[in-house]
């Protein structure tokens, strides 16, 4: 099942996405066509973890060696925006690029979770585009919040796919398209730290809770974006997330 959050007729609804992927069923059974809704991030953010350099090929591309322990940073709720939203590129930025990422949504609280039990704590998966604006990178708490916690610069969605509908999240092709052209591609099997390892690592020192998210990092492929670009980040079996770059 695919679960979405939408705004429709002046209210926010939790909805399931119908098999045609073009309409929704609301909790009260009403059927709503996609044309009438605004997509919201499918999860109301709580604590959101993101991974840097978690694909060896992307790390090499950025002239880093893959880390020996997960490079984690946190994001605030302000940074997320739903499917078909807009992300702003400031006038002084020439190096804004997409990052297609598989997002693990936690469904059950836990601490010191063993890797073999990690998936018991997963509610499902969605897609993120974790934009980076390289001009703002600094070597303090890198990647710093000015790069990674900008308002509406982390598209999320379109929907959450429930865990059991994704038989092997560690073998999914993912790609980014800019104006319809493939600009990044990879497979989740190339993660340096896989999903069970990440859940075990994080929950070893802190409690993770339902609604927490882990953005698991991005493979190689960097292309700088300009206002007007349409960026699609998609993962086979999860979904295809669209965003447009606008001038700040």
């Amino acid at each position: 099942m695919k679960r979405a959050r939408i705004a429709w007729h002046g209210a926010i609804h939790a909805a399931t996405v119908n098999d045609d992927l073009a309409s929704f069923t609301l909790a009260d059974g009403r059927n709503v066509p996609e044309a009438e809704v605004v997509w919201l991030p499918p999860v109301e953010p709580r604590t959101s973890f993101a991974l840097g350099l978690n694909y060896a090929d992307h790390a090499a591309e950025l002239a880093f060696k893959a880390p020996d322990k997960p490079l984690i940073f946190l994001k605030g709720p302000n940074t997320f925006v739903g499917h078909k939203g807009f992300s702003r590129c400031p006038a002084d930025v020439k190096q804004m690029h997409f990052e297609c990422e598989l997002v693990v949504v936690i469904g059950r609280q836990g601490k010191k979770i063993r890797p073999e039990q990690a998936y018991d704590h997963v509610a499902g998966y969605t897609v993120a585009n974790d934009y980076a604006l390289r001009e703002y990178l600094e070597n303090y708490y890198r990647p710093n919040l000015r790069v990674k916690n900008r308002d509406f610069c982390t598209p999320l969605g379109p929907w959450l796919v429930e865990r059991d509908d994704v038989p092997d999240p560690m073998n999914l092709n993912l790609r980014s398209l800019v104006n319809g052209e493939v600009a990044q591609s990879g497979n989740t099997k190339d993660m340096v730290f896989d999903i069970p390892t990440l859940i075990a690592y994080i929950s070893d020192f802190m409690t993770i809770s339902s609604g927490d998210m882990i953005l698991t990092g991005t493979p190689q492929g960097v292309r700088y974006l300009v206002p007007g670009d349409e960026v699609i980040t998609e993962i086979d079996g999860i979904g295809s997330l669209s965003n447009r770059i606008i001038r700040a």
Partner: protein
Amino acid sequence: MAEKPAYPPLRIDGTVYGVALNNRNEIACLATSFAAAPYKEPPQAPVLYVKPLNTHLAHGGVVSIPAEIPEIEPAAAIAIIFDRDTSRVSEADAMSHVAGYTLALDLSRPTDSYYRPPIVEKCRDGFLPIGPWLVPAGDIGDPLSLSVSLEVDSVAMGDLCLRDLARPVWRLIADISDFMTFRRGDVLLTGLTPPGARARVGSSISAVATGLGRLDCTIALEKSV
């Protein structure tokens, strides 16, 4: 001596952001290391981190640490709480977005590095005691006169006056809200008392500020699972 409760207990609903390296004296001491690798140059933007929900702890709480962490590093901070959504505000308007002030104890595993985000260091459960209450901005005469002291087992371990912030509060709000919105109820820890304090299992830690009250926590040994 217990202070008479002046305000209702604090409840944090928003996101808590902290600012490292915002103590003028500390920055002066670190000038040479900022020129070297991996930093290469001094920080330009405020050096920000997040204290996630699992770290939040009420006044009087107990922080459990495992045996393999022999010492933690406490720092005290004056926190501001936002009154409304705050985005791209000027320094002149910034203070009108502040609902009030409270105290925080930012606990860390000791580290000298500012290179990577301090997740393992600062995000353990209970590593942000905060409170005891919100003092409305209108009850604080001149915020620049606010000064917080850190105490470990009743020994003074350093203090920080808002007058000594490298970036004053209004500039922090203006510079940060230039790229991210503070939502109503979000919290900003404006700066930390000097580094180097240590606490361990059995320690009592307090942040104390005239006008804001006193925030306490104690450190206990985490029971092994």
